[in-house]
Amino acid sequence: MNKPKMNVNIASMELINPIIGASGTFGNGLEMEDFLDLNKIGGFCSKGITWLPQEGNAGRRIAETPAGLLNSIGLQNMGIVEFIKNIVPQFRNKTDCKLIVNVSGKNVEQFENMAKMLELPEVAALELNLSCPNLHKDGIVMAADPITTSQVIIAVKKVSTKPIIVKLSPNVTDIKIIAKAAENAGADAISLINTVLGMAIDIKTAKPVLGNITGGLSGPAIKPIGVRMVWQVAETVKIPIIGLGGIETLDDCLEYLMAGATALQVGAANLYQPDICEKLAQELEDYCSLKGIQDYKFLIGKANPNFRGEIFYGQD
């Protein structure tokens, strides 16, 4: 049999395979080169970049929970200016592994300005992280409000020529409403899920384990939540979905694809198995070969009879 087709086109971004390193767990990509060959994976999302540099949260930032990981990094990052100056140019000659910049604004203007600044050839796409608290709406994150979500997307689409991926938070009553709003506002793709809000208490000290009290839950524990949301959103929108949340094994990848994800991101697993993205890309290809699946994209939405996505298989 021929080698199975593993490439995929998300909006105008062409990935050599659907495996993407998730934001905040892949550094700025280059740190991972000790463990894997970046040119063997589709791409990665940078650490969340903000308008100004941020020092992040004080105190302990990481805690383990059953089959999960709580983090409260608090978006520590160098800010957009420094990022464009020092990080972006390093991707000038990397062509296979796409640099997706995860941007996190506090308001519409910040998103807009950052999008303008990221009109650079090295940047393959933007991933909008709307998980900052909405300053107008009592601490609820922007991604929980369909109107704010739309406003950000519309503003960014006006100034950006890049594919716009909108990253959704699972901490909402109805993910379908937010996803639909994102699609209607012009998003090119949706990635989900971000972390689930959680916390842990140190019973010896009777204090929250994390300095920031609450944190984001990731890892295998949240996989059933991610798969469910991808499934729901795949029944709701036509734009491609990038699925994530607890992906660790080939089986996890297949679960997300069959639920309706077009591409996949791997988060927490990079931290304990830093070669995992390359391994999963290879294992997915081997699986397709073994099963005689000529294009991995045939797996997309396979379990979901109401899958609405439009898959572009490309030319032969």
Partner: protein, 264 residues
Amino acid sequence: MNEKIIESCQIISNEEIFPNYFKLKLEATKISKLAIPGQFVEIKCSLEREHIIRRPFGFHSIEKNANLISIIYEVRGSETLALSKRLSGEELSLIGPLGNGFPIQGKVPLLVAGGTGIAPLSCLATAFAEKKVDPYFFYGCNDHKAANYFAKKPPEGELNIATMDGSFCFHGNVVELLNSYLPTSKVKFDVVYTCGPQLMMQKTYEWAKENNLTCFASMERVMGCGFGVCLGCTLPILKDGKTSNSCVCKDGPVFNGEEIIWDE
């Protein structure tokens, strides 16, 4: 940047050396070649998926020719407990070597260790000895059980021991031992290294500062990755009068005591 790898390492031995403390010896062909004292490895301790995060441990010995490394660990929680149950012959997944080691400098180094901090400092002592420099080693522990073990298997250099319960040698903490030792001694240290509980390191640093000595401290933080991608292990660091968060895993774990905000 230092080279780091994932290596599957066979357990040569994994023995309880005194109650609750274990010495784990591993065949680590590649990591042993790259490692220097003060660096560490991230170990996948259990095979369960319930505990997903690896745990960091400093090198206690590095035998490049024999392809061996060892660590000494205390059973503190779930994963060190799981590690203590792994048997020789089994394979463990390691990532390493991670972080920056101790800068090796000075002719009369003072090494101040507390608890498991003795593990990486022993490794440093060996490196000094190989350079024909004899370190002075001060070690504080809880009781005679630990003291006894290290008295019998001492690190390189002159070893002085303090026990908190007074059941072996000096009664008190290691800084008190230092203070009681110095007046009677003619040694003039020219650099200090410390590893152990934070308060002990702080006291050591303060002592070094009073004596105008550079003091390197090996810091501990809960880690998510160990190689600089998660920003989980940050420590506020003072440089050029400005404070900013550094990663213990990548920028440390060894820092110059001057840069540390001890009273955070």
